[in-house]
Assembly symmetry: C2
Homo-oligomer: 129 residues x 2
């Protein structure tokens, strides 16, 4: 199958597949006589794996690392476990930061919502932030 068909099969664009090849997430594609990239079902499952990883919030660099481990003949499970564990730590940190930020913004919002613009001090641009 050609690149456009492969792309729509997994919900990507041709551009993205070429980009993945360029970044080393896909091996250089086989070419048919006219120079067009030619893909088999193994590439499709590889692309689907990439999508599953992305929906787990992994970066392309992390996905590439996992794929390279698999390509070198080793099961990537241990590394995947480590990456997901770190992902949990990072997510907890980010969520905590955003939650604190939300509380701070909500406090500002309550203040300004109860305020009278007439009291706004020009020197401070806006007195309520």
């Amino acid at each position: 199958m050609r690149i456009g068909e492969a792309a729509s099969a997994v919900g990507l664009t041709s551009k993205t597949i070429r980009f993945y090849e360029d970044r080393g997430l896909l091996p250089p594609a086989a070419r048919s006589a006219n120079g067009y990239r030619e893909y088999g079902p193994d590439t499709i499952s590889r692309l689907e794996f990439i999508r599953r990883c992305q929906s787990a919030g992994l970066t392309l660099a992390q996905i590439q690392e996992i794929l390279h481990i698999r390509d070198s003949g080793t099961t990537p499970c241990t590394r995947v476990r480590d990456i997901l564990g770190q992902q949990l730590i990072d997510l907890d940190k980010t969520i905590a930061e955003l939650t604190a930020l939300r509380a701070s913004v909500a406090e500002h919002f309550r203040t300004i919502d109860a305020a009278d613009p007439i009291n706004c001090d020009k020197e401070q641009i806006c007195s309520y932030i």
Copy 2:
């Protein structure tokens, strides 16, 4: 005061202050005879306002909009209120997404943590993701 002094007074770099001027968050600075930028206390409070906005998670584009409203002679309070309200909505959305992602990643993590790498299917790269 010159740019370096202003920068350290508010905890920024000279680069950042020039960048803000370039982006229109600061008016073109007055220059002394040698061409150096010269700042007064009004710029300092403007920079401090920018910092307060940033710690509330506003983008430079939003801050610029608020500053322009103030510069045009109007109190920006109403617009600030709207922006903070939208900020709350966005934060809630992001936090909800990240929380869902965390649950999904945690589920993957539990699965792989309990799995035996021997069962990992090569076709799927990693069976547990």
